[in-house]
């Protein structure tokens, strides 16, 4: 169980931005698109969210670096 917790924590600390991009921003982009009448496959917006998260992970921040 401890090993599992350690692996989970390790995964979250490294990949939390990617998961956040995929789920949070993917859902938001999809919802905004639906509100504006774009009925593309939701997968498209989740992929954008995922890429958004991947970029944030690579840069180490969502915003500007100081």
């Amino acid at each position: 169980m401890n090993k599992f917790n350690e692996l989970l924590m390790n995964h979250i600390s490294h990949w939390n931005m990617v998961w956040f991009g995929l789920i949070f921003w993917g859902s938001i982009f999809n919802s905004i698109a639906l509100n504006f009448g774009f009925d593309k496959n939701p997968l498209f917006f989740y992929i954008i969210g995922f890429l958004f998260g991947l970029l944030a992970k690579h840069r180490g921040t969502w915003l500007w670096k100081t």
Partner: protein, 295 residues
């Protein structure tokens, strides 16, 4: 404590005695604000989902709630509800956990890092709030507050050999992860509501908090009990920035309740001038409705 020559009239013991007389009252205002704002914020969800409130109106209210969310927790972190009575400690814990829901902050994480902020104010390595307190502009404050967990990983590295700190820290991180999980579930079910009722207000609340609680009071101040926080003025009426012009008195005597600070400052003004607290000369004789605006 600094070795400043002060007359016998202004000794630390006398200062402490006066401060203690303002450190007894139960902070009922903070209890009402903390519980009240969280209840209002929670009620916004069904009101928006069932169409009684527009999302724009509810989001505006949620932002106000977020700006009010931290200070009740701050009082609780210092035990200003229980006042040393073990039977009342649950009030500290309950108020702090409940009020912080609006800004998704875990109580234990806030408490342990805030205690370190008091112990090492303005120390670049050890003060967890140094990132925002040392910012050179408001823009820098905004960018630095958005760092999220990266900041706390750095803080944990500094205090990794402090078992009491790490116990609270890890407990706080678990609650933080729980918040994150709830947010990610809610965003799938109610995307725009989650964005405008929780995520955005919490971000704005944290920027507000860092600006007025951390940046302005410690801006360009030094290290040391009477030097690390300043008295400052602002164009904004003090009730809109939670009277953070008076934050220096909190750093000197954290037990003084927030709503008792104006009276305490009036009583302690000569001591603060004698100790050369930054800006102390500008403290008005009476801290009443709003004497702290500087246009």
């Amino acid at each position: 404590m600094e070795n400043i020559d002060v007359s016998d009239e202004f000794t630390f013991d006398k200062e402490k005695e006066i401060a203690r007389s303002f450190s007894k009252r139960f902070q009922w205002e903070m209890l009402v604000i903390g519980i009240g704002q969280a209840l209002i914020w929670l009620s916004l969800w069904p009101l928006v989902i069932y169409g009684y409130f527009s999302l724009f109106l509810a989001s505006s209210i949620a932002i106000i709630c977020a700006c009010f969310a931290y200070l009740p927790s701050h009082e609780a972190q210092h035990g200003n509800f229980s006042r040393g009575n073990p039977k009342r400690r649950w009030i500290d814990s309950f108020v702090s956990h409940f009020t912080l829901i609006t800004i998704m902050f875990p109580h234990d994480l806030m408490r342990c890092t805030h205690m370190k902020h008091h112990a090492y104010t303005n120390n670049p390595e050890k003060d967890p709030d140094y990132d925002t307190a040392s910012a050179k502009s408001l823009w820098e404050v905004i960018v630095r507050t958005q760092e999220g967990t990266t900041k706390y990983q750095r803080v944990a590295e500094v205090y990794k050999d402090d078992p009491a700190f790490m116990k609270s820290f890890n407990k706080g991180m678990l609650v933080g992860m729980l918040y994150r999980s709830v947010l990610l579930v809610l965003v799938v079910i109610f995307p725009l509501e989650t964005l405008f009722l929780w995520w955005l207000p919490s971000k704005i609340g944290v920027i507000y908090l860092s600006t007025f609680f951390s940046w302005y009071p410690h801006y360009q101040t030094d290290i040391g009990r009477y030097k690390d926080t300043r008295f400052w003025s602002h164009w904004m009426p003090r009730f809109f920035n939670h009277s953070m012009q008076l934050h220096f008195i909190h750093h000197l005597h954290p037990g003084i309740g927030h709503y008792d600070e104006p009276k305490a400052i009036e009583a302690l003004k000569p001591f603060l001038i004698a100790r050369k607290v930054p800006g102390a000369e500008d403290i008005p004789e009476r801290v009443k409705f709003n004497p702290l605006i500087k246009l």
